[in-house]
């Protein structure tokens, strides 16, 4: 049995979608992060920073959403969540997951939690604005990459698409969210209507889906 620790709509969303795609038995646990009730202990041991997602899959304990996505793809090859290691597209799949995880995601964190990115409280709004500008350029570029294609890698759904969908949802408070762009918008609707995604929206009770 796989246990995925996360919160609705958080960075556990992409791994959760992939577990539904693979149709493997799993439990979605919402940990208590702070205070004397912090737990469960398995989560605290799995994630020293108490960050989500964390996952326990038999003898493998993992953190980092992109790494968990790669792991789920590896363990469930029949679900075709990523190209196999000898496929030329495999590298492109890694490239997208890493890019989304180390470029778009940190910019989103800076937009959502700007107070963590500056020491001077007077500069919080400026840090948020800087992230907004950075994100605009990222979404513009991804929008052009999606021109004429249905998915990020190859011609089929993969873990990279679940990841982009998750991050796109986080952009909803931007003046120009990711899905304000036509290519990303069409992509967004395509992913949102997958059976796995619809199940996760229901299970996590995600109120906000455009």
């Amino acid at each position: 049995m796989i246990t995925l620790y996360g919160y609705p709509g958080s960075a556990s969303l992409a791994p959760h979608i992939l577990l539904e795609e693979a149709a493997v038995g799993h439990t979605f646990v919402r940990p208590t992060r702070d205070g004397p009730d912090a737990g469960p202990p398995e989560f605290l041991a799995a994630s020293p920073h108490r960050r989500v997602p964390a996952m326990i899959d038999g003898d493998v304990t993992l953190t980092e959403a992109a790494a968990i996505c790669m792991h789920i793809a590896d363990r469930n090859p029949e679900a075709l969540l990523g190209p196999p290691p000898d496929d030329p597209e495999r590298g492109v799949w890694y490239r997208w997951l890493v890019y989304l995880s180390n470029t778009a995601q940190p910019a989103l964190y800076q937009y959502i939690y700007p107070e963590r990115y500056v020491m001077d409280p007077h500069l919080v709004e400026a840090a948020k604005h800087a992230a907004d500008v950075t994100l605009g350029a990222i979404w513009d570029w991804i929008d052009t990459e999606l021109a004429g294609r249905d998915f990020l890698v190859g011609n089929r759904f993969s873990a990279a698409d679940a990841y982009l969908w998750m991050l796109g949802r986080w952009s909803r408070h931007q003046a120009s969210p990711a899905f304000a762009r036509p290519g990303i918008r069409a992509f967004w609707d395509r992913i949102a209507n997958r059976a796995s995604v619809l199940r996760v929206i229901e299970q996590e009770e995600l109120a906000w889906v455009p």
Binding site: L62, E64, P88, V92, M119, L123, A127
Partner: protein, 215 residues
């Protein structure tokens, strides 16, 4: 996939892509990209539209993102030590460490060093740098603790994640960070261990790096 060409600027994150290529033992070409004017050479834009280095052309496959390049080379050259084979212990843990180092420690360094993230506002830049230094220190502390009873990041064996840590803790990256990365004993010992690898020695010669760190 085919001939390998690394697009490189000396001393940058290209060092880790170079070390990974040296670990594979495969032949590859290196094309120098202008440090300031990334439109030179012109074909670089086709390999990485973001014009960041390192970038790797592998036949028709265009790779960028340091961690992704390491993973790609690991899958391509299965005899290398870069990542455990599919289905073997340590595979997913290698993903975890590569992703963590790239999206937490490496991005904190980016906030420290590179102004692309920051508009033209010196006060804001300074405040972002201070927060970045705090985050780099916390991350180095965490990794140092993880290495308390381990020789490498992934239990029991060297992987490409160790190359990435080797770079991110090296003197030319952590020079201005207080306390220095190597004030942490486990990080210093890990660095010396990875530094002793022949592939890393070749990378340092190629990039003109000559630091030594006492274990």
């Amino acid at each position: 996939m085919g001939a390998l060409t690394l697009y490189s600027v000396p001393g940058t994150a290209c060092t880790v892509a170079c070390a990974a290529l040296e670990e594979t033992g495969a032949p590859y070409d290196t094309v120098q990209v202008e440090r300031r004017d990334r439109s030179i050479p012109p074909e670089f834009k086709q390999v990485n539209p973001h014009r960041r280095v390192p970038a790797l052309r592998d036949g028709d496959v265009r790779m960028y993102e340091t961690a992704a390049i390491i993973l790609h080379l690991g899958d391509r050259f299965t005899d290398s030590a870069l990542i455990p084979a599919m289905g073997t212990p340590g595979r997913s843990d290698t993903y975890r460490w590569l992703v963590y180092l790239t999206n937490t420690l490496h991005t904190a360094y980016t906030r420290w060093y590179v102004p692309w993230y920051i508009p033209d506002d010196p006060g804001l830049a300074q405040s972002i740098r201070e927060a970045a230094a705090r985050d780099i220190g916390a991350c180095l502390d965490f990794v140092d603790g993880h290495l308390d009873d381990r020789r490498y990041l992934v239990d029991g064996r060297f992987t490409g994640a160790d190359l990435l840590l080797h770079m991110l803790a090296s003197p030319n990256w952590s020079l201005d960070i207080e306390p220095a990365a190597f004030a942490r004993p486990n990080l210093a010992a890990h660095h010396a261990r990875v530094d002793a690898r022949p592939a890393v020695g070749r990378m340092k010669a190629i990039h003109g790096l000559d630091w030594t760190v006492a274990a």
